[in-house]
Every structure is written in structure tokens, then in C-alpha cells.
Amino acid sequence: MKVAIQTKNNIVYITIQGSIDSNTAGELQSRIMEELVSLNRVIMDLTNVGFLSSAGLRVLLMLYRQLNSNGGKMLLVNVSEEICDIMSMTGFINFFELYSSIEEAEKKFKLT
């Protein structure tokens, strides 16, 4: 798994590549927690994530709750069908906001 974090126009882009499972979730968590202070508007690009285990969902939930508590927002982009199914089954789909492209997610931030 590879994580790239960059900030543009007040939006933090987190791009992840590879599987987020119990072996890699810890690394993702520490990378995100490093940046946490500056995190407010987050666009997470999951285009290249094929597998998301419950440990990975936990990290997403953690980020979601942190952002929620300080008025921030996390938008997920390009979530694969399999991951979408997992999110439906576990109910996360009711809370996470999913977009099909980065542009759409950016539009959402511009409107608010």
C-alpha cells in the first residue's frame, strides 16, 4: 500500500494505492494522524484500492469521526463496487459521501 498526501486550495488529497488490510491499516492510520492538525476538508481517492478490510474501514471511520467533531468533511472518490458492497452491508454508506470523480468532490467543497 502507498499513501500520498498533498494539500491544494485548502483541500487535503489523500491518494491510496493497494490493499488496506490489517497489515497496512496501521501505517495508513499513522500517516493520516500525522497530518490530522491540518485536516479539515479531505478528498480520499480510492481509485487504486482493490481491497478494504474491516481494519481499513476502522481507519476511515476514525478520520470521519475526527473531521466530524471539528466541522470538517471527508469525501471518498471512485470507490470500487466490492468496497461499496461492504459499506452497504455494514451501513457505512449512510454516513460516508461517495463521488465518482475528484472534480465532483471538489465541486461539493466549493458549494459549501
Binding site: 490489517s22 481494519a55 474501514l57 476502522r58
Partner: protein, 525 residues
Amino acid sequence: MFRNLPFRKKVLLLLFSSIAGCVIFTTSVTVFFTEKSTQGVIDDMLFSVAYGAHNLVGDDYHDRIEDEFSISPEEFELKRSALHEFANEVKVKEVYSYIIYNNELRWTSGSLSTDTFFIAYQGDREKMKKIYFTPIEENRIVFNSYEDAYGAVRSVFVPFTTDAGTRYVVGADYDYEEVKSELTGIAIGFILFGLFILIVSFIIAFILTNKMSAPIKKLVEFSKEMVDNDYNLTEYDQNYLKEFSLKYKDEIGILSGSFLYLQNSIKHYVQDLKKTTAAKESLESQLRIANAIQMGMLPKEVDGFCDHNEFAICGFMKPAKEVGGDLYNYFMIDDEHLGFTIGDVSDKGIPAALFMSMTNTLIKSIALTGITPAEVLYRVNNELCKGNEQSMFVTLFFAKLNINTGHVEYANAGHNPFILLDKHKQAYQKLYPGIVLAAFEDVQFKNEEITLSPGDTLLMYTDGVTEAMNSQQKLFGEERLLQIFNSDVNVSVSIMVQSVIQGLDAYVEGFEQSDDITVLALRYH
């Protein structure tokens, strides 16, 4: 061979062979060039002697020779003594002259007392043609070295032609033995000198290498001692090494310093390793105990359910690590209702196990109040959300069976659907998905219901079953799970659970289990 020699012997051997090589080379070169230059001087001298002899004998003498009687013995003797005196004076072995007469060599004059006029050459004819005929046939001066019974000789043969056309050769022999013994003397001198140098340098090298290798030997001793003493060195040894590193400013000093450093690092490393191992062992034993406690939390078949003829229930949990994050439980809520649950905490290991035990306790205590499954989940969820900083969450299914009617009321919090096995079919029951516990506060859950007929079975599992992987990274899958029950649905629930576990084991073929595995089966009678 050479590689196996100790360092010191290598140095000595190299020194010995290089000095010996030098001596042999210098001696040969010197002898070679000395001989060359000596020969040059001798040849010049012989040439002059030949000319002197030619003057003594004279062209006229040879012009008069026609046969063996041309010169009287008196005249020959006169010439012989003159030549003899001359030869002595110039320190040559002998001088002589000869002519070619009827294709034969005839001595015409000589310095030796044994010489006789016009006597024919007595020796090897081939040699004669090769050496003695060349000066006359090719009309050139010939130098020649040879060795016979009398010793080594250097000769010159100078051809002369008189005004009358008589051709003869004047020869002079030099005793080469002297030169040879001179050269041998030089060679011996050189070799003796070389030997002297060799011995002296060998002694010096012996002492020096002994001194040089002593600290290395000491270091070797220390290293053996260090290994024997569990990587510890006595204070005396350590001071010794410190002194070494200060005293020697060369590689030995550096080596001593790094030896101390190495010994120190290894010692600490070994200590750390011992500590870590002890800690690991203690942790492992704690984990073993934790595993026993966790397993103790899960109900056993025998836990007071034998006297219920209305249903049979059996569960099994196999954690991926020592402790797991899966849970199942069943208990009587009142005389009429059985509560049962299965759940899966996100992630695994110790954090998941702690969360699992908390969830397990909460479910039971809240369910015992008799409220509906959806209400149970609502309350458990809110309890779990409190202080959940690590954002752990649980997927959980909770149900309540009326043991008299077979009516089941259930609610789901993001858990996998259960399989319903009745007389006609085996199928996954479509559940309202719900939302996982501990993630979002104040979420509502939905009560659903189903009525079981006698013989119907509910099979619940966690995703450790369907997502079990084999060595080809292929998942076990929901379809394969369903097929296990195709053959016989009338076996007991414990055998059903067992057949799921066996089916999984056969599928993964020993590939490492990556997630906790839990199966729970309930049959209504």
C-alpha cells in the same frame, strides 16, 4: 597451501623467496655481463697475439713450404722456441700456424715442445672442417670456445695470404679455465653475500613479525574468551584492550578499539535479547491465559441447555491469533425466550479481544432486560460509542427465539446474513443491513422476524469463514459455504458446525488463517 599458513609464516615465506629470487637474478646478470666483457678483452688480446706470431713466423717461411721437407728441423725448432717465448710473454697457452694441404690440415709451426713440422691433424675430421677450415675457405677471422680433457680454451684463427699467394692460418689459444674460476668466484661471492643478507633480514623479520603478531594473537585469545564467557570480558582484559588501542596507532590499535566496541554492543544486544525474550515469554503466557479467559466467556453446549428439548444450539470460535475479535453467545432471557448473538470486531488481536469482551457483556446484560433486539442494539451501540477513541466497531446479529412457538425476532448491525436451512432449501436470508455498532451514535435498528418450523436450522457465521483464503489467494466464498449443507440437513448442529470447520480446513490446506473464524448453528425442534 599458502592460504592456510598463519600470517607470520606467510610474511617470512614471502620475504625468503623474494630475497632468494633477487640474489639469483643479480648473480646471473653479473656473471653473464662479466663473462661477456672478459671475453671481449681476451678476444682483442688473442687477435694481437695472432698478429705478433704472424710477424715472428713470417710470410717468407710459409712461401717456402711445399712438402714435409721444405723446412729443416733446426729452423722449425728455432721458430718454435721464438713462439714459445712469445707465448709465455703474452700469457697465452699456445700459438701455432697451419695450412691446408691436399684437403688436409698440416701444422706448420707451433709453440709447444711436442709440435712437429707438417704433421697432419689427428682429431675429429668434422670438427676440423667446421673450425679450422672456415678461416681459409671464407677468408675471415674465427673465434671459438671449446672444452677438452685439458680444460676450457678460447681460440682465435686469423687467415693470412702471402704476396706469393700462399694461404695459411695463425692460431692462438687462451687458457679459459682461469676466467671460469674467476667467474665462479664472483658468483660464489654474490651468493654468499646474498645468503648473509637473507639470514640477517630473516632474523630481523622473525623478531619484527613476532612482535607484530603478538597483539593479533592476543586479540584472538580475547575473542575466544569473549565467546566462552557469554560475550563478557574481564576488566583486566578490557583495560588491556584499551591500552592496545592507545598504544598502537596502526591497524592493531584500530582493531582493538573496534573489538572493544563490538564486544560492548554484542553484550548489550545479548542482554536486550534476553530481556525481550523474557518479555515475549511473559506476554505469550499472558496471551495463553487471555485465550483461556476468552474461550471461557463463550458458552459451551453443556451450559444448562441439555434439558431444553425445544432447540439445539452450538457455536465455535477459532481466533487467528492467540485472542480474537469474534464473538458468539446464547442465553435464556426468560423461561420462554432464548437470546443468541454473533459478532465480529473490526481488526483482530488484543484490542479486538478487549472490545469483543466488552460487547459480549453489554449484549447479555442489556438483552436480559427483555427489550426487543432493535432496542438492545440501540442501547449497546450507544454504550460502545462512548469513549471509543480508536474507532473500533462491531458487526453484530442479535436474535430472540420463542422456544414454544419458533418465532424469531432479530435485528442486524452490519453483520453477514444467516443461512436458513429448512425442509425445502438452504438459502441466505436477506437481512436489513443495519449499521455497525460503536461507529455512529443514536442510530436506529430494525426488528425483523421469521417463524421456524420444527427441524429448521439457522446457521450464522463471521466473514472469517467466507473470506478464508487458500494458497492461491482465492476466497472460500458464500456459495461454497452453502454447498456444505446440500448433502444432509438432518445431522446434529454440532456436526454441522464441525463440517463447516472441516470444509474450511480442507479448502485452505494449511494456509495461514488471517481472520477469526466463528460459526453458530441453532435448530428448532
